[in-house]
Symmetry: C2
Subunit: 337 residues, 2 copies
């Protein structure tokens, strides 16, 4: 295992080609259209030498000099959320079109995105796409990142700032629609499975609409902390085990809703006749389940428009003040409610 074979540098390529470092740099950096500055023959020699040495430019050195990483970072809490998968795929594709590389950072549930923001300020990437609802302290940190000429886009309904771009959706209105739908179908005892604390709006909608309909909320019917499929399943089982179980379950995510559906089936009840189930997110999986999942979620699953905006900002083609972008949601009635 021949370790420690020193990686070739510009100088190695220059020596092999019999030219100077700068010539090699001009040819290989692709900038300033090296084609018209360097003679074809020199150019060929350089390319041949680089090829022979298997030269790869050093990111640290190039980044230090250019003040650019040509990298974007995507940060979210969990890979388990199907939308994060879609966002990651779109980000990678659009980044590639721009000659950029995409990296993902996981935000630990108990610590928040502080580490990622620190990394950004240390120069991890030129742009950040954050799927998270930061609190006030983190908003300040985010603004610091944005002030360092890096592009920042946050997907959150609850953050406020003019220093970076924010993507919002009408989660509240569509969730309210779903609750109204359940009530209109005669449901009074509706169980709630909360996903995590960062997205309050769907729960606010639940509370508000139930109050509007004059239905008092029983603490027993509210389960929290169902961040993953397993916990959501347990929460649903607890709801179904109540002396007076709910006739409908409103889950904070489609994943939680699917877990709830399994729990209902295991309890030997029918969906939606015995227990209706509604989720949030409208993930593709909801069209596979049996019965198909009624849900609230984005109309479009294409995140490329958002990402293109992020690259607009990276390239400086955006106004200095942060924009607010709307991503419309809808209530999709399928079979489970």
């Amino acid at each position: 295992m021949a370790r420690h074979s020193r990686r070739p540098t510009l100088r190695d390529v220059a020596e092999r080609a019999g030219v100077s470092q700068s010539t090699v740099s001009i040819v290989l950096s692709g900038r300033r259209s090296g084609a018209d500055r360097i003679s074809p023959s020199t150019r060929q020699k350089v390319l041949a030498a680089a090829e022979a040495l298997d030269y790869v430019p050093d990111q640290a050195a190039r980044g230090l000099r250019r003040r650019k990483t040509e990298r974007v970072c995507l940060a979210f809490q969990t890979l388990g959320e199907p939308y994060n998968d879609l966002i990651a795929a779109d980000l990678r594709a659009v980044a590639a079109e721009h000659g950029y590389s995409a990296v993902i950072q996981i935000i630990p549930r108990d610590e928040g995105p502080a580490h990622t923001l620190q990394q950004m300020r240390a120069g991890l990437a030129d742009g950040l796409l954050l799927v998270y609802t930061p609190d006030a302290a983190l908003t300040a940190d985010l603004e610091k990142v944005a002030q360092m000429r890096m592009a920042v886009m946050v997907l959150s309904n609850l953050v406020e700032s003019t220093h970076f771009d924010i993507v919002r959706n009408n989660e509240y209105a569509t969730s309210a629609e779903a609750v109204d739908y359940l009530v209109a179908r005669g449901h009074v005892r509706i169980g709630l499975i909360r996903h995590n604390e960062s997205d309050l709006l769907r729960y606010n909608a639940f509370h508000d609409r139930m109050a509007a309909h004059g239905i008092t909320l029983e603490p027993d019917l509210l389960r929290t902390g169902a961040d993953n499929r397993e916990d959501a399943f347990v929460a649903a089982e607890a709801l179904l085990a109540l002396p007076e179980p709910p006739t409908a379950i409103f889950a904070g995510s489609d994943r939680a809703a699917i877990s709830a559906m399994w729990a209902v089936q295991r309890a030997g009840r029918r969906i939606p006749d015995d227990v209706a189930v509604i989720g949030v997110g409208n993930i593709p999986e909801g069209e596979l389940t049996h019965p198909h999942l009624t849900s609230v979620g984005p109309i479009s699953r294409d995140f490329r428009p958002l990402i293109k905006l992020l690259f607009q900002r990276i390239q400086g083609h955006m106004p200095d003040t942060g924009q607010v972008i709307d991503m419309p949601w809808q209530f999709v009635i399928r079979e489970s409610a």
Copy 2:
């Protein structure tokens, strides 16, 4: 939006503290135990200045100088695979213990990991954890990466090299066990839903055992390209729509198996009485489904031992020749078969 506020450098901190750059570097870099070299009072001044300026050291410059990124990279094809989620969480946690940062790169399905390997050679990270089965050409590229003093660990049963660490499992034997189990229960017409091409062993096991039992394979019962839940669902529907549908389905992944279960339920058939279903992976979700999913997969879901080995290599505490690590699998009989 006060953009372009130049980020503070060592010199800014030095000026504010009234000392030299080197002193600041010694204090802040944490190396060489700055505590005993620098006087407490100077040290305090430096720390105060850094705090006041909100100084964050530049990764590019530090990396260029130290020849270290203090970063590890995890690369895999899809976020949808639950195990990748577990690996990512464990990697992040162990990395944090070592003062390292973890980044994830998605390997595009149509291009393979070439881009990530290029990034590694350009100095993206000190170590790479690759969940992928590279072909011969990529193995050569991987060896190049490993030769540049970076730690490389690959999770694959099909790659061969002494230049990096390889993690294997007994996927073949346990898959064979599952097939034998189905045959022993009287199943002859067994449908196969292939996941992707990179993990051939489970399909080899299927073919070999069926042949051993003298059962000829019908092309109609073999479906390929079911890389995601949606495609697997379609594949299962096609199987069930056959004039003579299978009495059992062996899916290349648990996700595919769960999709198949939904398809079976939608077709109004019972599991396992009408159609038995077996998956591969033994993901946590399999204990939630109704019925619970019979599967083949890792005994342990804890990837930290592997990751600790990766860090051993990063720190140079490993023999130069690549190791082969075994990760045992088992056949888990639940309710679906």
